[in-house]
């Protein structure tokens, strides 16, 4: 059997709407220094031998934005990889590099400053093709509107339930020290916020966010050199759906179901409804929280609305961190979810700690209307 891979340290900057006074290299350095301080790791032959950066050229407004960080990543003297996808994919790469025997100690650092561009929608617009989908003005927000409408028709979810999701997220967010700008929202405030892409209201959408996140991944046999409380990566899975949204059934969760199936099989999860003490899903928009929970098979298909009404998110410990809704950059959503899940499993979550959390699920999503999903199952060491 392949050797296990442990998350030995987790570090994050705060997530804020506009960290104008921090360069992305500086945010990444803050993360690296925290990881070094936690573990004593360095870039020597027995330290980090592979760095994986997560970045996006358009958000950074410079190509090959990872090569601007060689000093931070130590990569000018070693192996460097880049994820230009959902950040949770860095866990996948790191896991593969270690399980294959190529590496023992892998650094992951993701950064994104959404605030640098004039508009996040203008960035996501570029994900579409120039002949058929860009000309009609598509971006991820409009695509989410199409999916939200399809999911509302399927599940019956309405304005009040969507507002409940946002209010709970804001209540959790104020307990998360990584979100200094979080403030408690009321049902009235959410329901009075303007529609942006029906049925999505302005406060149903995650805020523009800047920040960085990182982890240290280490092979089983060397984990003890860096921590007494590792978190094991038990299984990962991902799936990419069709490019054209009309080729997909937008409310079907097709790709997410497949991604979950693969991850559960690898992690030995038979009953996802009962398996997880902590669940962190990438809810960029409020409707996605119950919808992704259906796709993950943790609640029954089409039952997301009922689940919200019955206080399901609280009972299932979903997004205790506040979730993506409370603020993490698009690119890093899933990696931040994994970071928050791992912090819980290490027992380092402070005011938001869930007692005796042993198994967690972290989820990331990328592309318009949930085209790509990636999942990691984590377990306390």
């Amino acid at each position: 059997m392949a050797r296990k891979v442990g998350i030995c340290a987790i570090a994050q900057t705060t997530y804020e709407k506009n960290k104008w006074g921090a360069r992305f290299q500086e945010m990444a350095l803050e993360v690296l220094e925290s990881i070094q301080q936690q573990t004593g790791v360095d870039f020597s032959e027995t330290g980090i031998t592979m760095s994986i950066s997560v970045s996006d050229d358009v958000f950074d407004a410079r190509t090959i934005s990872d090569n601007a960080m060689t000093d931070v990543l130590g990569a000018h003297l070693g192996c460097e990889e880049k994820i230009a996808q959902e950040g949770i994919q860095a866990l996948y790469y790191g896991l593969a590099a270690i399980q294959s025997g190529h590496e023992d100690v892998v650094l992951i650092v993701g950064h994104c400053k959404e605030s640098q561009g004039k508009s996040r929608n203008m960035v996501t617009h570029l994900a579409f093709d120039p002949f058929f989908t860009r000309p009609v003005g598509l971006d991820f927000c409009a695509a989410a509107g199409l999916q939200a409408q399809a999911y509302a028709m399927k599940s019956g979810i309405g304005d009040e339930e969507l507002a409940r999701i946002v209010v709970r997220s804001s209540e959790n967010a104020v307990k998360n020290p990584m979100l200094p700008e979080a403030k408690k929202l009321t049902m009235k405030e959410v329901m009075a916020s303007p529609m942006i892409a029906d049925p999505i209201r302005a406060l149903h959408a995650y805020p523009v966010s800047d920040g960085a996140v990182g982890m240290l991944l280490v092979a089983e046999d060397r984990v003890k050199e860096f921590t007494d409380t590792p978190v094991w990566i038990k299984g990962v899975g991902n799936c990419m759906d069709s490019f054209f949204m009309g080729d997909r059934n937008l409310a079907s969760n097709f790709a997410l179901k497949k991604a979950a199936q693969i991850a559960y099989k690898r992690a030995g999860i038979d009953n996802p409804g009962k398996a997880f003490d902590i669940i962190e899903v990438s809810d960029q928009y409020a409707y996605q929280q119950p919808m992704w929970m259906e796709g993950l098979g943790i609640i029954d298909d089409g039952k997301g609305n009922e689940w919200i009404k019955k206080d399901g998110p609280q009972k299932n410990n979903v997004n205790i961190s506040g979730g993506t809704l409370a603020g993490s950059p698009l690119l890093l959503g899933g990696l931040v979810r994994a970071a928050e899940a791992a912090i819980q499993l290490k027992g380092e979550a402070g005011d938001r700690q869930v007692a005796n959390a042993k198994t967690a699920l972290a989820h990331g999503v990328m592309g318009p209307a949930g085209q790509f999903h990636s999942i990691a199952v984590l377990e306390r060491g």
């Binding site: 002949f131 058929f132 000309p135 009609v136 009309g246």
Partner: protein, 152 residues
């Protein structure tokens, strides 16, 4: 006074690169038919019995090459989903608010995204029958269909 943040600044920049995209053998043919004849064509996978609009040369379900299997579809169809875009961005083709819909043309199996006009937002619904209104000026893109309007 914030000593730490004083005497620090941001500089203005812009990502702007004129660019040419090859529209592809399949895409070119679709767009030429649309531009010159105001006809909408799809590509059919005979193995999957599915007509794709927009067209593509390979069926992603079974991997079959389908680039020669052109079939004409109608310029009428049904709205399978929609949203109302109420925010404004420079990449939008019309002024917000506007209706962005997924439209399954009669004869096609895959809906595609386009703008619906000629109906009040509050009357918009899934299942609405629509008809293409062709553009007067070509852009050699899908906007050679100006928008869809309620049919009949």
């Amino acid at each position: 006074m914030n000593i730490e943040k004083d005497n620090q600044f941001v500089i203005e920049g812009k990502l702007a690169l004129p660019y040419q995209y090859f529209s592809g053998r399949t895409g070119s043919r679709f767009l030429i038919r649309l531009r010159d004849d105001k006809k909408i064509n799809g590509l059919k996978c005979n193995a999957c019995n599915k007509v794709f609009v927009p067209p593509r040369s390979t069926c992603e379900i079974c991997g079959e090459t389908i680039q020669d299997n052109w079939v004409e579809v109608k310029d009428t169809g049904t709205v399978t989903g929609f949203t109302v875009v109420r925010y404004s961005e420079p990449h939008q083709p019309v002024k917000a608010p506007y209706i962005l819909a997924l439209i399954k043309l009669d004869g096609a199996d895959t809906p595609f995204a386009h703008i619906v006009q000629g109906i009040a937002i509050e009357n918009m619904k899934v299942g609405l029958k629509v008809k293409a209104k062709f553009a007067e000026k070509t852009t050699s893109t899908i906007m050679d269909i100006n928008c869809f309007m309620p049919a009949g």
